[in-house]
Assembly symmetry: D2
Homo-oligomer: 249 residues x 4
Amino acid sequence: MRVWDKYLTERDKAVHGLSGFSARTGFGKRPAVLIVDVNYAFTGDVDESIEASVKKWRTSCGHIGWAAIPHIQTLLRSARASRIPVFFSTGVDTRPDHFNRGAWSHKTRRSNEDTLVKVEGVRGNDIVREIAPLPHEIVIEKLKPSPFFGTPLPGYLIDLGVDTLLICGTTTSGCVRAAVIDAFSYNYRIALVEECTFDRFESSHALNLFDMNAKYADVIAIDEATDYLAGVGRGLYDAKIAFPAEVPA
Amino acid sequence: MRVWDKYLTERDKAVHGLSGFSARTGFGKRPAVLIVDVNYAFTGDVDESIEASVKKWRTSCGHIGWAAIPHIQTLLRSARASRIPVFFSTGVDTRPDHFNRGAWSHKTRRSNEDTLVKVEGVRGNDIVREIAPLPHEIVIEKLKPSPFFGTPLPGYLIDLGVDTLLICGTTTSGCVRAAVIDAFSYNYRIALVEECTFDRFESSHALNLFDMNAKYADVIAIDEATDYLAGVGRGLYDAKIAFPAEVPA
Amino acid sequence: MRVWDKYLTERDKAVHGLSGFSARTGFGKRPAVLIVDVNYAFTGDVDESIEASVKKWRTSCGHIGWAAIPHIQTLLRSARASRIPVFFSTGVDTRPDHFNRGAWSHKTRRSNEDTLVKVEGVRGNDIVREIAPLPHEIVIEKLKPSPFFGTPLPGYLIDLGVDTLLICGTTTSGCVRAAVIDAFSYNYRIALVEECTFDRFESSHALNLFDMNAKYADVIAIDEATDYLAGVGRGLYDAKIAFPAEVPA
Amino acid sequence: MRVWDKYLTERDKAVHGLSGFSARTGFGKRPAVLIVDVNYAFTGDVDESIEASVKKWRTSCGHIGWAAIPHIQTLLRSARASRIPVFFSTGVDTRPDHFNRGAWSHKTRRSNEDTLVKVEGVRGNDIVREIAPLPHEIVIEKLKPSPFFGTPLPGYLIDLGVDTLLICGTTTSGCVRAAVIDAFSYNYRIALVEECTFDRFESSHALNLFDMNAKYADVIAIDEATDYLAGVGRGLYDAKIAFPAEVPA
């Protein structure tokens, strides 16, 4: 029983069965982790209901975002223990004249809020403190949904010889979806870690997981991800990245 | 009442109301039309039920694809009457060793069929005859979901000075979705023509339209598209493309 | 008489005459200015001989860079008076482990210097003070030669509807050359402003100007650039960028 | 003594010595070969003087192109013996209205010739017969200088896990240069095989080799290339590409 099953029509289930989609990709030998946009603009500044949070932060997912944080911490611990590169993506602050927003201005009624401080001391584009990047990890600042679009990410992955991406974060139907399409288009193997991935819309979350699992990525449980990371050789990337001798607990 | 309403949960509707998404982009001044992957691999060789068609053509949408064809013809007539550039995307034939498929091999159980002739005289990647490109129109051959990825499309649009894309085709949750994300990322105004767009899954079709309408594109009716095209100046692109003097009926 | 003439062989001159290269592109209607990498790493911290400067700053062009600054100031004054967007590119600081340098580490014997402070208070990647960007202008931070590669620049230019780029900066044979190839590949009209462009190698400077003038760009004098900018309509981009009411002198 | 030495000024030699450029990149473990644009448009239809050839084929390099062919054959034999992937790039035929040429129309006085048949039975964009691609090899059709720009090449290289590119072909100052800049920007190790690389201009050829050797690539002799290819493990790519059991002599 998957989260998307209840949204599929009977015909969808029949067609899915016939079409041959949703085969298992499987893992490669050289993974990296990509955590998409888990910043305060998408979680809100505190763990509260999405209805309350979205009034302050127009893109917030509220409580459901905070519920993913402990799982992302688990994923991070596992990646760090195996000295696997971790990429975090986040947004770029909006200019006062909104020029750098481009097409993002087209579809929102609340873009005028994007340069406001909603809560003193909280910057929307800061990665949530509980999963803050370590100095050797890589933050990809981006203007568009995909962390691959107009950023150094493709070149970094080539330089590292990565063949597999463990992707998670938010929103499932937005930047995660865009990341997965681009990663797929560059021919990476992709696993999407379900407990670490969230969206403001329940239906979009479920159906986007279905779409991605059908065509582009394996939607897996956190345990599968950590088992895999524990099993890849430690030190795969030591020639390229100065991992700290001691991993913070 | 939109096609996606019945798939949204009550919480989704409440959050959508609060979030400020789904504003109207509106049209620019220099449009082009992009028809995504309306070829026999996605419609099947004849108009029949999807359940029957998908057995021959693993990516087929069956009848629902054929139902879109008259609407795409209407859109084409309108674009051609106004001498607006039309781009068609389609796939590249699979090599015998499947090398050029890349990650597409990861998620299907039926990739061994991709080099077979299913119906004598019908090539999966041929655009459906009823909407065949005219010689001055542009076919974008692509290997990945997005017609922008690894193709000349971005440069063509810049050369033409296009600011607005009318997008349609198939599948809503696959190549159309990918096209829309990339067009949005390049900062184009996007309208998605609903009657001309289809998917093999009813639920994915509806929710992907919802996602795109919320964040990236206006999901519009064919009449809005043809009204718009009738209103833009004729001859916008005559310096770049040799449109035929006489448009075929 | 052009700067490259003395480097061409007699056969080169004959072949050039026959080949039909070096036609004039001419200007379009919507320009932007792109100033490539005129930062302290490429000029050195003070105006001194290249032989002295390059000992401190391994990429420095020394005096010849400082000689270009007044011309770049002229270009900036002209662009600002006509409210034309100005893009500046510069580098990203090297990480302690050099990970973000990628292939740049392959060809230098001095990469160990890239994280050193050479002169207190001078950061190599800062744009030279005399031509510092104004707040409404756009700085493109890049890791690779071309300011188009892995950056938001393509999307910005599309959003603005730019059709012509006035390019200058440094080095002629490095990042300027890469910028010109990419701008050409995206189908922009390109003029390269000769007095504002410099290189550490006299021969490479001259021959790269020859190559670019032959195939990709018009190599023009600063007066042609300012005449053109004075003649385009003021206010072309006012809807997108908040130009200051008063231009600093 | 290198081919570029005679073009460098005394100051250039001194600055080059101080700057630390031109270190050796060295080879990686997973090579591919990229042969740029060795087609009839760049060699002419027969081996004759460049002055004669360029009158028929405006981009021809004439005799110097034909002189490189035996060396490219040597490189091909070596790559094929080790089952290393070979990519060939070439151009796309020009449309009657020249739309797909884009900015190429800007700088030539002879673009009206691009749709003419110059010699019956010879298509300018066909790879020269003596080095014709085998069925398992990959032809990259491109519209712009770089074989990476708007093509599937980046995704193919990622799928294969390539880390090193042996590049050659023509023109040194045009498409080879553009290929090298992009390969460098994606962080590949690059060796440029000197005897297999040519240009219509003697000076541009020499100085572009200098530039690339200084900053982006090792300019090596054909013997170094074949020694390297003989030493890499055979069968590195057998899981992805169906190499023929028997290599043609």
